[in-house]
Symmetry: C2
DNA sequence: AATATCCGTTTCATGGATGAAACACAGTTT
DNA sequence: AAACTGTGTTTCATCCATGAAACGGATATT
């Protein structure tokens, strides 16, 4: 075997040249220029030790060996073509966005027709733990602190405050959201031994607060925008933080990533609960 | 569809990564380094808009989508693998050599065990008209004059003389080889209206001369080495010429072409009929 | 607990694959 | 016959895909 590996893409290019009877006609379908196709056909012939074409000034004619190879190339194409055409939303690019639960709620609510008209499929991954961007668990992250990883880029997109919310000022029991988020830890520390409700999902905290059963610690961009709730007391200084939009250096020049960063940045900066 | 074409070789690389469970293990089989494989897998995932792997520090695990793709990649491999392994003499490279009829005879006789031990399949194309090296009708040509085409390289490999040969000095009829070679034209011009025999193949001229039926014009490296023939008269000055080994600039660095040039040059220079 | 090992990711210099432009050749059109 | 057109080949500047080296993280070994 030749010391270099057989490049399967040579088969794709071969098929285009054979189908169009020449280099010029194959150029558009294959995405390669005529000089490149010419060179790649020479490489293919040498690799297979076969003469695949009879070259003329008017085009490339297949030899018998070339015709035999063409059958095989078309068989390969019958497998490969559906892979590329059946890929979901082929004109859409998936962008994975990792953010805290409430930020994800905000972003979902912020999706509008302009954002939905972009050729982007947003995949929001609501998670409290940070997803691993170098390992591509997400492409974009909304973090509560700046990252200093040299391969990640970040920019500040606003500030977040938390406060206690309830349906009325007399509600006493707390909602304690399980977990290790700063707000969860804060409630665990400050909630008295009074009756409290424990929930595993932050969304349940909101439900309980609205129903009047208990009071919950919520970010103000959620609490302030929930009609059935009022803010009880001042915002909680210990829980306030900046918000950072984080992305891998390599990915941020990709068109769909650039567009997503713009949309997310704008959406987060539209939060008017803080100046 | 993404503006760039789908590179089928990404499927080959994907299959290797999936099979070995990671980049490092796939490196040797695929012929690509781990960083390159990593990048190509990202490109593939982006192109297909799918998540094919779960990336860990200990390797790449396939997702369900990745497993589905692996089945298809293996189907493609079932078609492609026989193409590359059943290519004839896969460790041999075919080298097409275009030369005149008699030069081809000389070269065939010169093949020895050393030349046959080379990983080269010689394809001698005996032709009087020059084959088109830019269009790869041949890789190496033996010509009777120097070429000045800028993309072709040439070097002189000896001198050729022609003479009349017969089984004895009394043979009168000529053998006239049809065609437009200098020797054919010479015979047409000088042969008297005496009885003559016309043949289409130069080898037939040799046969007729040996059988004593007629006399033939042959190159001395053939005539002098045929036991049943004697040279009649002096060599023919009008037909003598240098011999040139011609090759495409691009091809001559290829290992098998370099070896073939060496063998052919040595074989032609071993012709001792001229100093 | 400390060290070694393996694998993936990051950085960056480099070589080679690429394509634009020009040229050559043959066929077509006027 | 002359001009035009289409296609392949050649030339060469450019840029990008690549891999070596280094680094980071997790697991295995001692």
């Amino acid at each position: 075997m030749d010391e270099t590996q057989f490049d399967w893409d040579d088969l794709r290019l071969f098929m285009a040249v054979a189908k169009h009877g020449g280099l010029a006609g194959a150029s558009e379908e294959s995405g390669k220029s005529a000089p490149t196709l010419g060179r790649r056909m020479l490489i293919l012939e040498r690799h297979l030790n076969q003469t695949l074409f009879e070259r003329k000034n008017t085009g490339y004619d297949l030899t018998e060996q070339g015709q035999a190879l063409m059958q095989k190339a078309m068989s390969v194409n019958n497998i490969v073509a559906p892979i590329t055409t059946s890929a979901p939303y082929t004109e859409h690019k998936r962008v994975k966005v990792s953010a805290g639960c409430w930020t994800t709620v905000w972003l979902c609510r912020s999706l509008n027709s302009i954002a939905m008209d972009q050729p982007i499929t947003y995949q929001f991954i609501a998670a409290d733990e940070e997803l691993d961007i170098p390992h591509r668990e997400a492409v974009i992250g909304v973090r509560n602190k700046r990252v200093t990883h040299p391969s990640l880029a970040s920019r500040r997109v606003g500030h977040v405050e938390f406060a206690v919310y309830a349906s009325n000022a007399e509600v006493q029991p707390w909602v304690h959201v399980l977990g290790t988020t700063p707000s969860a830890l804060w409630v665990a520390e400050h909630a008295s031994d009074n009756a409290k409700v424990e929930v595993s999902h932050p969304r349940s905290a909101l439900d309980l607060a609205v129903s009047g059963v208990a009071k919950a610690v919520l970010p103000r961009f959620i609490g302030d925008n929930e009609p059935g709730l009022i803010q009880v007391g001042e915002s909680i200084p210990a829980l306030q933080h900046d918000r950072w939009l984080v992305c891998h250096h390599d990915d941020r020049h990709l068109p769909e990533v650039r567009q997503a960063l713009t949309f997310i940045g704008d959406a987060l900066l539209a939060d008017t609960t803080v100046s």
